[in-house]
């Protein structure tokens, strides 16, 4: 709340100080923020789900995104970029997206059964173990693909002309696709959580696992589904991050803390909070250049630092986050 208010204040003063000519620039930052937010939201939901159901802060979540992104890279290489296109993205890219989701989900479920499940430690032990898991994921990606960067074999687009003419916003069809597909996934998750038996059992398990169990809910299945959904969304986030930027073995880990900031802002363990927090943090992150434009000497290089400071402030003032669910 405080963050968004002060952000709005900065934006208003930016337009006031720099005049109407600054508006297209500002709209550009906002549009870019929406695209980046979409990726953070996808990552944040998974992190929040794991937290609410498996009860630990999963430090391997960022590297799960990386795994998804590289699975997409391999698939795109195998399927190719020929054939019809949707949003100027070849069908091969959508195959890559599905592969990213599937591989991330499979890897996470396998990790759950091989590593987390047999452990006899508390949630802090799980947290520490997840750091080891993160290192193993990243090391395997590096061993297979090296430490350099990759890009998806898809031509970089020029901004959509009519939007640019009309508003001055430079937005490519790829970015529109990222936002639309992410929104679809988020809406689908909402439907699953609210209107299906799986969703009800998931919410029940998150609420009180023992009670869910005595009510006849097979919580182990719920936990598996949770890993599939959480890691699948992380895989999608990874593929989109690869399309938005480029692929590198550290791409996910570097984003992890920003995703944590989003999740904490929204209220850790709350899926809807993660959506809201992801949106705010993504926006703030991409709006950082405004600070320099209005004369506050904080460079864009500090975009992540601002997110972390917001995170710590939220923890201090309102540890339950925006969504305000009681965390136990």
């Amino acid at each position: 709340m405080i963050g968004s208010l002060s952000a709005a204040g900065v934006l208003a003063s930016a337009v006031a100080q720099l005049g109407g000519g600054y508006l297209p620039q500002l709209l550009n930052y906002l549009a870019n923020g929406v695209v980046f937010s979409a990726i953070i939201v996808l990552g944040g939901i998974g992190l929040s789900l794991v937290y609410s159901i498996a009860n630990f802060a999963n430090f391997a979540h960022g590297d799960t995104m990386t795994v998804g992104a590289y699975a997409g890279l391999v698939t795109l290489g195998a399927v190719g970029t020929a054939g019809p296109q949707l949003f100027s993205l070849p069908l091969g890219f959508y195959a890559a997206l599905l592969a990213g989701i599937a591989v991330a989900a499979i890897v996470a479920v396998a990790t759950h059964y091989l590593i987390y499940e047999p452990l006899d430690v508390d949630s802090i032990g799980l947290l520490i173990t997840s750091i080891g898991v993160a290192f193993v994921y990243r090391a395997l990606v590096q061993l297979r693909f090296g430490t350099g960067t990759y890009e998806y074999d898809i031509a970089t687009l020029r901004p959509i002309p009519w939007i640019e003419d009309l508003t001055g916003i430079t937005l490519t069809e790829h970015e529109v696709a990222i936002v639309l597909v992410s929104t679809t996934l988020v809406v689908a998750l909402h439907v699953v959580l609210q209107y299906t038996t799986l969703g009800r059992t998931m919410r029940a398990t998150a609420d009180n696992e023992s009670l869910a169990k005595v009510s006849g809910i097979r919580t182990d299945r719920v936990i598996t589904s949770m890993w599939v959904i959480g890691a699948g969304l992380a895989g999608a986030a990874g593929v989109f991050l690869g399309l938005y930027n480029q692929l590198s073995p550290r791409m996910g880990f570097n984003l992890l803390l920003v995703v944590f900031a989003a999740v904490i802002l929204g209220g850790i363990g709350s899926v809807y909070g993660a959506m809201l927090g992801g949106f705010v943090i993504g926006m703030v992150n991409r709006l950082t250049p405004v600070l320099t434009d209005v004369g506050i000497p904080i460079e864009p290089a500090y975009a992540n630092a601002i997110a972390f400071v917001i995170m710590v402030l939220v923890l201090l003032v309102r540890p339950t986050g925006i969504a305000g669910e009681e965390v136990t």
Partner: protein, 368 residues
Amino acid sequence: MADETRSAFEESEDTRQAQIERATNAVLVAAALALVGGTLVGLVSPSYLVFLVSLAAMYGLLSLGLNVQWGYAGLINFSVAAFFGLGAYVPVLLSASGSPITDAVPPIVGLFAAVVVTVLLALAIGIPTLSLREDYLAIASLGLAEVVRLVFRNQENWTGGTSGVGGIPLFFEGVPVLGTLPRDIGTVDLGIYTLGFQFWNGLLNALIVGSFVLVSYLVLRRVHRSPWGRVLRTIRSDEDLAEALGKNAYAFRMQAFVLGSVVTMLAGVYYAYSNYFLTPGIFDPIYTFYAWIAVILGGSGSNRGALFGGVVIVAIIEGTRAFGLSASWRLFAVGLLIILVMRFRPQGVLPPRDELIWPGARGGGTDE
């Protein structure tokens, strides 16, 4: 937490623990003999041997510092790298010829400046985070360490930014005798080796970091057994109990956090003066996780375990290098080690012995 403490306590009574300790000692002695033997037959250069020992001491300091925070007080501190980097940067920015600030301050004085800055940063990170629940503390401290890293990367006018700081003097620069000692000894010819400036300087640095470790170890062992250490252990296992006994848990945690940060900082001082050049790479969170592995592997709460963990980290880092394996394999080994320790020995290899009893109180052979 309570379970962990109890299991560590029970294990120490166990004969299995005695076996593990004997095996660990045997491995350590064998490794030391192999290295010394390798040096005698000309396989391992004396400079490298000294470097290895110093590096083990450096990681030992990182893990000793973290052990005060996590092992004694149960604080999940993921900002180790920030204090490691600070220990390196503060004296260097005051003493190096390439520093954008000044090169007029002797490194030894810089060391004390680093202590002051470390205490201030520890308070700055600790005040907002130490009252947080444990997993929040992990995330928040990692985030704040990242802020510190970003500041050192981007404030080029103060830190030289990503291009780093060059022209780092010797640690004893300006001190009579010690300042020029490595040069004055000159070259000693031992047949297979010629020991020159590099060796003597390395040896002096090893003595510096060795004395840091020795002092830290003795101080920490003493405070661990003191009433202060007892209160910390109480807070770790049952905070409500400690509060009910009138202990201010927040204040005790803060003291442990600051004390551990100062020990961590010492590792950075060694790192800076054993190199000619310093870059913000020292703030990489990997150093935080190295310290964590060392502490967990050694056994949370155990100082000798922390030192043992430091030795293992060096064995992994330098071992993979010696076999020509890439950094990716090192990362893999480190990750796998974390998973295996948490799976098979969450209390660590050398958990604290008789944590709750003053050693003298046991007498001879009165084990029940």
